[in-house]
Symmetry: C2
DNA sequence: ATGCAACTGACAGATCGCTATCATTAGAGG
DNA sequence: CCTCTAATGATAGCGATCTGTCAGTTGCAT
């Protein structure tokens, strides 16, 4: 049996909603906090289990970034890259991809893909040098 | 005293040599194996300690890549990017940087830097579909 | 050559990200 | 409404990475 019966639990829906609303890659911990706004007693184990099953279903895509634990975003988006805020640690999506101009690898190397990360301060952090916080979305 | 006396031990020199000879980013474990060719009884704790101090001295730069533990390379090189072999897991340096064409971040975002990773198979792994191994440099 | 403290190696232990276990809860087909 | 069992929440445990401890070693100033 490749696919056991899948139940549509409130927890799983809360997790899906969290990813849809965030519209940026979330770590399991971020997904937990976000989904807990929909289902308060949600546990971290359930988040890991559902991320796993949403990956298997192809509903989520993994987004790994240096030095951090893997994050996940809703699958099916066009090729894009990410921005990582060094201050708040959140990750954002960027528009297009400059993949036309990639460095040339040495002879014999086969390039299968690429990943571009921009680093810096997000709008909220860049503007909050003295602590101007708009919303606590964390 | 910001700088206690630094001794130039054989172990530290072996670690420096390992990075110089490798000419690519090494993980602590890779650095251990490589440096043990210069100093057999080297321990992993010493590698971590010296990587830390070489970072503080500015002799090493950290190179983090998604999903892997941080690697390190000799500092002071020109801006460049990296290639990660999906087969053998080793990391290589690439030539130029196409930084002229970066995706534009949303309004208010401050870009401080970028990191580009190419993925695929390195020359050795791409050519060894049936196991043509040249040298065991691991 | 001598002495001392920086350094080392071995390994215990902290930390992190994730998985396994298990009693309990709750989808969903009948 | 009942039943069956997938799914959950709590938490113990695991592997990987890195740090702390400490007795013993060794670079280096004298």
């Amino acid at each position: 049996m490749p696919h056991p019966i899948r139940r549509n639990t409130r927890q799983k829906q809360a997790i899906r909603d969290a990813f849809i609303e965030a519209d940026r890659p979330l770590s399991p911990e971020e997904a937990l906090s976000a989904a807990q706004r929909h289902y308060e007693t949600l546990g971290i184990a359930t988040v890991y289990r559902n991320i796993k099953s949403l990956l298997a279903e192809g509903w989520l895509d993994p987004v790994s970034l240096p030095g951090q634990s893997t994050r996940y975003e809703v699958a099916g988006k066009a090729h894009h890259h990410h921005f990582h805020c060094r201050k708040c640690g959140r990750m954002f999506e960027l528009g297009g991809c400059a993949s036309t101009v990639l460095p040339k690898p040495p002879r014999g190397f086969q390039v299968a893909g690429h990943e571009l990360m921009l680093y810096g301060n997000c709008a909220r952090c860049a503007g909050s040098s003295s602590g101007v916080r708009r919303r606590a979305s964390r």
